[in-house]
Amino acid sequence: MLSHLPILQVIVPLLAAPACLLLDRARAAWLFACMASFISVVISGLLVFQVHQFGVLSYSLGGWDAPWGIEYRIDLLSAYVLLIVSGIGALMILAADTAIRIEIPSERQPLFYVLYLLCLAGLLGIVATGDIFNVFVFLEISSLATYALIAQGRDRRALWAAYQYLIVGTIGATFILIGIGFLYSLTGTLNMQDLANRLPALESSATAFTAFAFLMVGVCLKLALFPLHLWLPNAYAYAPSIVTAFLAATATKVAVYLLIRFHFSVFGVGFAASVLPLHSIFLVLGLVGVFVASLVAIQQPNVKRLFAYSSVAQIGYMIIGIGIGTVTGLQATLLHLFNHALMKGALFLALAAIVFRFGSADIRHFAGLGQRMPWTMAIIVIGGLSLIGVPGTVGFISKWYLILAAFERDWWPLIIAVLLGSLLAVIYIWRLIEVAYFREGEGESRGEAPLSLLIPTAILALANIYFGIDTRLPVYLSDSAAQMLFGGGP
């Protein structure tokens, strides 16, 4: 059975979804979804181990070898992202039962789990596959599920947010499809490896350039790269809290993965440099994104929205890492994938606990929260410190590698900019802490969030500290993945 792991990673949640629909009772559906998610974590752990041991795993679906059939191809990069996505997916589903109790009417809850599993399977499928059309198919699955999930927010504005995302997301997906179409007409193949072999000969072709441009813009729409980020704050702010936590920690990460995959493995590092100054564009957009989004975040009254803007800023850091264009820069990006998933997962889950108590995440509910919900607030403090990049948390590790990468290139202005960006994060986190600890709350004192929510949140918060001190696993994986990507493709 071990040789089938690559495909099991995806089909376990994929087939669990329709099975979940058959159950039709919220509790049963939840337990079933938990089981499926935990099996996928185990599988992704085994996959990391197998790739580490035996190198790249290739699995021919239907027994047809690539490029005739569809190939699943797990290298270190995909194993690493699979681990992030399935790990977060499992922790979130643990908390989901409590979190959605007040946010989603009970008739809809079984369907919620079906969509959740579909979304998870879609994201995993994008990462596991080695075939660009298959990427598109799974992108569609995860996006469709995401739109429906976002629309489940209690606020009526969730519908509008989901619709906005639907339009933008569909444009992004269409751009990707157009890019794939151009590539097929040019090379006659859909397999990534095969494409990587055939594209260098066609470097000067205008069609290859157009395909590249369409793919990049399409992925960047999904990624919410500044200035294509406008869908994200609304979607994150109005979606059910658990959905926000799941998406913030996984969906953008998968989009970054896709960007890296297309850029490095399909077209090759040299391609972009030869046709357009992609890296400078990434650097500029990343920096502007960090500053603009952080400044907007400072003014947000709704804390969910605040962290949504902060996510846009964090995506900026990841893009800067790619833009630096060295192994260390890419490693910083990959590290930040992992670390940002941990921090935003913890923060948004803590917000889910606050929404569970107060019905919304408005900043006025934070008054006196330090006494009312000491644990939840402590987790927010840890997540916040991590977001700023205080030593001892994972945030520090990402910033450290980013600065190291800039240092290698002697780009002092970039180092200063990254530090300034962290200062902006200090401002918006401090605002929360000030309200929570130094302002008296009105009304009766309310208790802590239920344990079923608190435990997964605490696990994520502790992971923030653990991986901030013992950095071996993410650093090893991201380092080898980055070197592999620069060393001539997977």
Binding site: I7, G62, G63, L118, A145, F182, S185, A206, T210
Partner: protein
């Protein structure tokens, strides 16, 4: 209405490109079901929209740039229909040369989508499934809204005698044709997607003429939900059976002692799964919208 015309035109376009299978689907979905769903959605939505007077210059500019980029992209593309275009010489060549012996069915489109790239097709079926779950979760009434009471629902077309008689004769033929398309997919244009849509169209026609209540009595929504999930499970289950026979996921070669027969069985089963899910999904989406519309009409 324009969408319907567009659907028909692109269907004919596909025919002229020799993609009869796609044309089939496009004619049924693009020209039939899609405008119908749009109309149903329109009856749910308000009649007027607040008009905003703003000239989106930037958007117009972006559209121009995108269009220009697409034209630039076509410049270096291999000439249309050229024999030595990579699209015809690389992967496709093998499909054309070897699929008759490897898979043993005359319709190569089916060979590609149900065998060589069967996993993509599984993905597409899941997309359809996701769409229907999405529609269901959006239109499932929450606590505050009541289920529309079936007693008040009206038969909309009671007076149209001719329509009723003609459709009574047509519907069985449509169902029969759907089954033909379903099981003939290996030999001619057709397959699960097309058959599912045609089957659904027959039921939707019935629902439109004889009322939602009668249609729902004939085919219950709860059963359709089971069927929608069952289709996906059937498709995915074939893959799991492949595991058990000791080969890779969705490899049908060991489903029978002769690999070619095995592939026949595999393709037959997954096409059935596709057909079931697609038909159930289409009907469910129609039910959901139509039920929502009548619910709204009663509330007002």
């Amino acid at each position: 209405m324009l969408a319907g015309i567009y659907g028909l035109l692109s269907a004919s376009f596909f025919v002229s490109m020799d993609a009869v299978d796609v044309a089939f689907t496009e004619a049924a979905v693009g020209a039939g079901v899609f405008p119908l769903l749009m109309l149903t959605a329109l009856t749910v939505a308000g009649r007027y929209e607040q008009t905003v007077h703003r000239r989106p210059r930037a958007a117009f500019f972006l559209v121009l740039v995108t269009g220009a980029l697409m034209i630039v992209g076509t410049l270096d593309m291999p000439a249309f229909g050229s024999l030595d275009a990579p699209a015809h010489t690389h992967v496709a060549a093998r499909y054309i040369e070897l699929s008759p012996t490897e898979i043993g069915i005359p319709n190569m489109v089916t060979s590609v989508l149900a065998d060589y790239r069967a996993f993509d097709t599984l993905g597409e079926v899941v997309v359809v499934f996701t769409a229907v779950v999405g529609v269901l979760i959006m239109l499932t009434p929450g606590e505050q809204r009541q289920q529309p009471s079936p007693a008040n629902a009206v038969e909309t077309m009671r007076s149209h005698m001719i329509l009723r008689v003609v459709s009574k004769m047509l519907i069985p033929l449509m169902l029969l044709f759907a089954l033909y398309v379903q099981f003939h997919g290996e030999y001619g244009p057709g397959g699960g997607f097309q058959a599912g849509v045609i089957f659904a169209a027959a039921i939707i026609l019935y629902a439109m003429l004889f009322g939602l209540v009668k249609a729902q009595a004939a085919i219950k929504p709860s059963i359709l939900r089971l069927l929608a999930a069952f289709g996906v499970l059937l498709y995915g289950g074939v893959g799991v059976v492949s595991f058990l026979t000791g080969v890779n996921y969705l490899d049908y070669s060991r489903l029978a002692t002769d690999p070619v027969v095995g592939r026949h069985i595999g393709i037959f089963s997954i096409e059935l799964g596709v057909g079931i899910t697609v038909a159930a999904a289409m009907i469910l989406i129609f039910y959901a919208f139509a039920g929502y519309a009548t619910g709204r009409a009663e509330a007002e």
